[in-house]
């Protein structure tokens, strides 16, 4: 094994084809312990497919993926035990309360979990008896993260967790994600919101057409661009429209 002890996930020359289309075309990157690693890119860039290959949901055509010392292609079943996954459009069983769902998901890993502690983690304790259908968009995403934590995973994958949320709910979710990282988890997140990547990620990989075209900490990428002589047309803008929106409507989340 070539990975250094600090590296939790190593993807090498990953290739995934759907018929004629090569969705992921030789992607390599590694994720260090306790970092938030972002995968950015426009829709159709291959972000989700890359995640799904790592998450054992899709057979890989070529390349290797090492996760926590396990080979994803050969040891899928064991990899599943150490990852936590929030799928882009996952939903949960109807008619079970959040607490019951978390207990059931715990059972799938042979664990007896404390649902309230998990719900505390995502600030949903008071919803423990509610069903998923009764939650708002932001609450659903937070619950989805709680469900990804039931097995105390080594790496958590979040696929566009803030898509469709209002600015308040997005910021709230960022807070939750940062706290989970501060508790020692490694997080891989995809997004197409640049502000989100800038706010959350220690390092980002920019994907386009199935390839990684840049990989660095956000600030380094910005500095490099500026060093190449790039200048925004309108500079010295002290606030954005989003800042206006938030100052008008406040930071309080509205979905409770």
């Amino acid at each position: 094994m070539t990975e250094t002890p600090d590296v939790v996930l190593e993807v090498k020359e990953l290739v995934k084809r759907y018929g004629e289309i090569t969705a992921v075309d030789g992607v390599s990157f590694s994720v260090r312990a306790r970092e938030i690693f972002g995968i950015l890119g426009p829709n159709g860039a291959g972000k989700t497919t890359t995640l799904e290959c790592i998450e054992t949901l899709r057979p890989v055509d070529a390349g290797t993926i090492l996760l926590g010392g396990l080979n994803v292609r050969a040891q899928a079943q064991e990899v599943k035990r150490i990852i936590g996954v929030q799928l882009q459009s996952s939903s949960f069983f109807d008619k079970l309360s959040l607490a019951e769902l978390l207990l059931l998901f715990g059972e799938m890993y042979g664990r007896s979990v404390d649902p309230l502690a998990l719900l505390d983690e995502v600030e949903l304790r008071d919803k423990s008896r509610s069903q998923v259908v009764q939650l708002s968009g932001g609450q659903k995403q937070r619950f989805s993260i709680a469900a990804a934590l039931v097995n105390d995973p080594v790496v958590i994958f979040l696929d566009e967790p803030t898509t469709g949320l209002d600015p308040q709910a997005r910021r709230h979710l960022w807070g939750v994600i940062k706290r989970i990282r501060s508790e020692g988890k490694t997080i891989v997140i995809t997004t197409h919101y640049m502000d989100e990547a800038e706010e959350l990620c220690d390092r980002v990989a920019v994907m386009d057409a199935g390839r990684i075209i840049a990989l660095a900490p956000p600030q380094e990428m910005i500095d490099a661009l500026v060093a190449r002589g790039f200048r925004k047309e309108r500079v010295e803008r002290l606030a954005s429209l989003e800042d206006v929106f938030l100052s008008l409507t406040g930071h309080t989340i509205r979905d409770e």
């Binding site: 150490i82 996952s90 939903s91 998901f105 799938m108 042979g110």
Partner: protein, 367 residues
Amino acid sequence: MKNFVSYLRDPMRIKWMLTLASLKMFFRQREAILWTVLFPLLVVVLFGFVRFNGMGRISLGVVNEGGAAGADLLTRIKNVRTFEVSEGTRESEMSELRKGERDLVLVIPAGYVPAAATEMTAFGDLEAKPQVTQLGGLVLQRVFDESAFAGAPGLRRTTLSTIPFKSRNLTYMDFLLPGVLSMSIMQAGIFGVAFGFVSLKKRGILRRLWVTPIRPSDFIIAQVAMRLLVILFQMTIMVGVGVLFLNLHFIGNLALIYLLGMLGAVVFLGFGFSLAGISKSEDQVAPLANIITLPMLALSGIFFSRSNLPGFVGAMTSVLPLTYLADGLRSVAIDGATLAQVTPQILGLGLWGVVSCALAVRLFQWE
């Protein structure tokens, strides 16, 4: 491998937990209870009601002008199962008779005394309903005689003792309820599974499960177990309600009823999973499920006896899975058939079970 040990230690636990969770989900859906229990019972009651009036019993209107003694006679008449008794005034009952709602109207005159020679009148349409009218008259005469003896124990008269002939007085209900039970097993198996699974697939719930270490087989086993338990529950309720409230003449072996029901359930679950496999959305499931179930509903002798079907249709429909199930349940429930006597049905269902499960394995897809 170490991570695996905890899973292998108790491989049954997760299957049971999933079954339990699915049962919870099932019983928390109000529609589910409606469809599995209330709807079949409603069908039984509705169909039963329609047919009860049509055949078997004599609709008798009674006009009691005889006070307390008349009321006593009326009670005796009501105890005769042949009669479906309505009470009313002379005017209203005669009008019902004219409309054909009554087969016979009996007038108990004022001053009626059981043991005395009272003139009793009954009206009926002898021309249109000769048998019913005459039979009703005979039965009434017998009730009068009994009533007279009860009033004067000393009176002796040659009594006709009838030797009971083998007749269990089976009603349409006895035919109908096992049929509807078979129907609801089929619906639960095919519609329940097909719709349920397609929705789990479409909404991405299954994908979320596959990133956990549970095996697809755990989930399938739990689903099948849940459906079988629900069908057991459904069978118990229907047979119970039938015996307690609908006068079902149940003389069969309950274990054999359950065995047939479970075999039938497996057959239809297999078809349900097959449909879930080839359908991408609920819109695709519905027509396919109807194509399978509707002809069987019509041709498997659920509501009406297959003996009315023309010869070749009768022969063809005798091998339908629903026919095997309905015939089997019916002969066990009301004829008390033994395991040996329903062996053809068991074999038939077993064969269909092999076919449907093989089909399910071939066609079932997760995504």
